[in-house]
Structure formats: structure tokens, C-alpha cells
């Protein structure tokens, strides 16, 4: 247990310091959201209708792009080998790393959501709904994306290949995340059903993600 909490603390500290790049995700999120009005036009009514979808897409892309770093830096300096060989089960270590990554790179996205909601003309309720669904949904993105990060580190290929492999797997999260926020803003559906499915998706990926990532690290590293 102490080993895992030490791992989490170490990862967060590295991510927040110089060269960690956790906060670049927030900057990317901001840039994507700012780009949107240039593409669809500065019509505030339209922007507030598209707002939840834009915020979800931005968060999805931002959390995908920061995932590259999840195992790559540790692989470069050799600490990934130490983690693989240690007595802690690799699945638990993977889960701890993903949790640390979510705390360092995922939570800032949710904190930034209210500010970005202002830019997209979302009211209080809508912003709150989007932030809440992001809070429930981004763990699923991190934990499924971790599988792609593990594949990328074993294959020494990152970037586009990882995005192509991981993005189709995140379609359910996107569907239910946007649906839950829309349900809270305009109705007519109840907020509960899509939101609980979103939480269920996060829980399922919490189980599948570490096992798949650990399997690909075990079989792939040599």
C-alpha cells in the first residue's frame, strides 16, 4: 500500500514539475475551445447549443494527447523496469499510475471547464452538468487510454497510431457524457439514466484497463 501511494505521489510530483507537461493538456483544451467559434461562427445561441459537445470533444482530445507520457518517460529512464520487477502486482501499479495521471492531468481539465463554459455562453446549470459528467467520465478515458499508452511504449510508436487505436474505444463515453449533459440542460430525458451508465463505464474501464495494460507491458517489454 505504501509502495502504491509513493508511486502516486511521485508521478504527480513529476507531472507538475518542469518537463512534466500535465498542465499543457489544459492549455490544449483552452485552445481547442477557442478554435471552435472560428469554425462555426460567433453565434452565441449556436455555441451554447453545441457547448457540451465542444467541451467533451476538447476534453477527450486533451486527455488523449497527454496519455503519451504515461509510460514513455518511465521507460526512457528505466524506472518502468523497476516497477515491472517489483513485488507489487503490475496491475495495481498500472492502476496507481493511471490514477496519478488522472489527478495531475484530468482534474485540471474539469477545474477549467467553468471558465471555458463562459466562453461558450453556457449558463450555471449547463456548466455544472458538463463539469459533473466530465468528473464521472474522464477516469474512463484515462483508464482505456492507458491500454493504448502501454501498447505505444512496447512498440516504440506513439502519437497517431495510439490515437487511432484508442479513439474508437472511447465512443461510448462520449455518447453518454454528452447525452447526460444535454439531458440536464434541455431534457426531455432524465439525467439519471445516462449519468449512471457513464459511471458504470468508468467502473468497467477501471477493471479492464489495468489488466490489459499490465498484460501488454508483461508480454511486450524485454
Amino acid at each position: 500500500m505504501t509502495a502504491l501511494s509513493a508511486l502516486i505521489r511521485r508521478d504527480i510530483r513529476i507531472a507538475l514539475r518542469v518537463g512534466g507537461g500535465a498542465l499543457i493538456g489544459v492549455l490544449f483544451f483552452l485552445t481547442v475551445v477557442v478554435l471552435m467559434p472560428f469554425a462555426v461562427g460567433p453565434d452565441l445561441a449556436l455555441l451554447s447549443r453545441l457547448g457540451p459537445a465542444i467541451l467533451w470533444l476538447g476534453a477527450l482530445l486533451a486527455s488523449l494527447l497527454t496519455l503519451d507520457r504515461l509510460f514513455m518517460a518511465d521507460h526512457e529512464d528505466g524506472s518502468l523496469d523497476l516497477i515491472t520487477m517489483s513485488r507489487t502486482p503490475l496491475e495495481l501499479a498500472c492502476a496507481a499510475k493511471a490514477l496519478a495521471h488522472w489527478l495531475a492531468a484530468g482534474l485540471p481539465l474539469i477545474v477549467a471547464t467553468p471558465v471555458l463554459g463562459l466562453l461558450l455562453n453556457l449558463d450555471m446549470v449547463a456548466t455544472g452538468a458538463v463539469a459533473l459528467t466530465l468528473l464521472a467520465g474522464t477516469p474512463a478515458l484515462t483508464f482505456t487510454g492507458m491500454i493504448g499508452a502501454a501498447l505505444a511504449v512496447t512498440l516504440h510508436r506513439g502519437g497517431l497510431l495510439m490515437a487511432v487505436l484508442v479513439l474508437p474505444l472511447s465512443i461510448p463515453v462520449l455518447i453518454f457524457g454528452v447525452a447526460a449533459s444535454q439531458a440536464a440542460i434541455t431534457g426531455p430525458l432524465s439525467f439519471g439514466a445516462p449519468f449512471s451508465i457513464l459511471c458504470a463505464l468508468s467502473l468497467v474501464s477501471l477493471v479492464i484497463g489495468p489488466f490489459a495494460a499490465a498484460a501488454s507491458l508483461k508480454h511486450g517489454l524485454d
Binding site: T154, R157, L161, V164, P168, I171, I197, L201, S216
Partner: protein, 261 residues
């Protein structure tokens, strides 16, 4: 004859060479019968002659999912039993599955044009098949991205199994998304009340397409094994050339030093 006996690629090559002509002949005969029967099938009272696209479309759609199942079993073989032919099977199946999925999409959109008035409709089934197609392409990109086949095999196996777990979830969520956005679906199929005149040719075509897949898959596996042999022979030759030139310079240096002495 068990699965372990097939682990020897040479034995597999010999056996598949004996089986392949029979499989190919059975596929051609069944395809002929199926096509003949579907040509004779009556026109639908609503859809007219276009209903005959179904006899091509449905077997393709069925195989697009069946092939992912085959690849998942092969991936289990790679990760759990380390069966040497499992990754060959998984690699050979991916492009075939992608082709079946593409054909299902293509025939579906050709069928949709006269029925719905558009080539593409964000219908739940079409959308989930499109996502399946994207996943096939991603898997093929993964196979192509890495030079070493055994390293690529294990990565692809993990991804295939994750995909197999995720596909039902994706299917479910796309269905849900679709009913959210389109309360009244355009598509109204006969469902299980398919008439016998349609059902029998459809079943024959499904069996024929499955046989077609088995034939193509065996042939592609043979090609893959031979390709790997060629690759390893080339590597051996390259290393022999490098080694002999190294030895050559070494002996020359030796004779030079002898001369100096």
C-alpha cells in the same frame, strides 16, 4: 489430430495444401447454389427487386463480426498458450475481416439509396459496423507499424481482446444514441418473420460465405507462413554475408600482421 499437432508449420502447410482444393470446390458449389436460389427468390411487395441485396449484405455483416471472434480466439492462443500459428491466424484474418466489413457497409449503403433515399444514414446498425471497420483498420495499422512479427502479435492480441470486450458496449451505446436522436427508425425489417422463400437462400449464402472465409483464411495463413520463412532466410543470408565479410577482413589483417612479422 489435435490443435497442438498443427503447431508445426510444415505439418500445417502439408495438411492445408490437401484440404484447400476441397474447401474451394465446396465454396464455389455452395455460392453457385445460393446465388441461383437468391436470383429465383420472389420480389418483396414493398422493396421490389432491391431486397436481393440482402442475400449479399447479411452474410457480409454476419462475417464481419464472426471474423473478430476468430481473431479473439487466436489472440487467446497467442497470449495464453503461445501457439505458434495463433498469431499467423490473427494476422491473416484482419484484412479479410476488414474486407467483409467494408462490403457490408457498401452493400448497405447501396441498399439504403433506393430504400431511404440516401447513401448514408446514421442508423444504429450502420454506425456500429462503421466503428467495427475503423477498429479493423486500426488493428491492421498496428500490424504494419512494427517490424518484428512476434512483438506486433502480442500487442495486437491485447488490442483484439479489449476490442472484443468493448464491441458489445459500443453496440449498445450506439443503439441508445440512435434511439435518442431518431425516435422513429426509417428501417423496418421483417425481423424474424422472414418468409421461407427468403430464409433458405439466405442461410445457404451464409454457409457459403463462411466457407469462403475459411478458404481465404487458410490460404492467407499459408502465405503468411511462407512470407515469414522468406524473411528469416533473408535475415540469415544477410547475417552470413556480414559475418563472412567480417571474417574476410579479419584474415586479411592477420596475414598483413604475419607479413609484417
Amino acid at each position: 489430430m489435435s490443435l497442438i499437432d498443427l503447431a508445426n508449420p510444415t505439418r500445417f502447410l502439408a495438411l492445408s495444401a490437401r484440404v484447400l482444393p476441397w474447401l474451394a470446390a465446396a465454396t464455389i458449389i455452395l455460392l453457385g447454389i445460393g446465388l441461383y436460389q437468391s436470383a429465383l427468390a420472389p420480389d418483396d411487395y414493398q422493396q421490389g427487386a432491391t431486397v436481393k441485396i440482402m442475400f449479399i449484405h447479411v452474410p457480409n455483416a454476419w462475417l464481419s463480426m464472426f471474423v473478430w471472434g476468430v481473431m479473439s480466439v487466436a489472440s487467446l492462443g497467442t497470449l495464453v498458450w503461445r501457439h505458434p500459428l495463433a498469431d499467423v491466424a490473427a494476422k491473416a484474418a484482419a484484412p479479410i475481416g476488414a474486407s467483409f466489413t467494408f462490403l457490408a457497409l457498401l452493400t448497405g449503403s447501396l441498399w439504403g439509396r433506393p430504400m431511404w433515399g440516401t447513401y448514408w444514414e446514421w442508423d444504429a446498425r450502420l454506425t456500429s459496423v462503421l466503428i467495427l471497420f475503423l477498429m479493423y483498420l486500426g488493428l491492421m495499422a498496428l500490424w504494419r507499424a512494427v517490424e518484428d512479427p512476434s512483438r506486433a502479435a502480442r500487442a495486437a492480441a491485447v488490442l483484439t481482446l479489449v476490442g472484443a470486450l468493448n464491441l458489445p458496449i459500443i453496440k449498445f451505446s450506439v443503439d441508445w444514441w440512435n434511439t435518442l436522436h431518431q425516435p422513429a427508425s426509417v428501417m423496418r425489417m421483417g425481423g424474424s418473420t422472414l418468409d421461407k422463400a427468403f430464409l433458405i437462400p439466405l442461410l445457404v449464402m451464409a454457409v457459403a460465405f463462411t466457407l469462403l472465409f475459411v478458404t481465404l483464411h487458410l490460404a492467407a495463413m499459408r502465405n503468411e507462413i511462407l512470407r515469414r520463412r522468406v524473411r528469416s532466410l533473408q535475415m540469415m543470408q544477410a547475417s552470413r554475408v556480414a559475418f563472412s565479410s567480417e571474417v574476410g577482413t579479419g584474415s586479411r589483417q592477420e596475414s598483413a600482421s604475419k607479413g609484417a612479422a
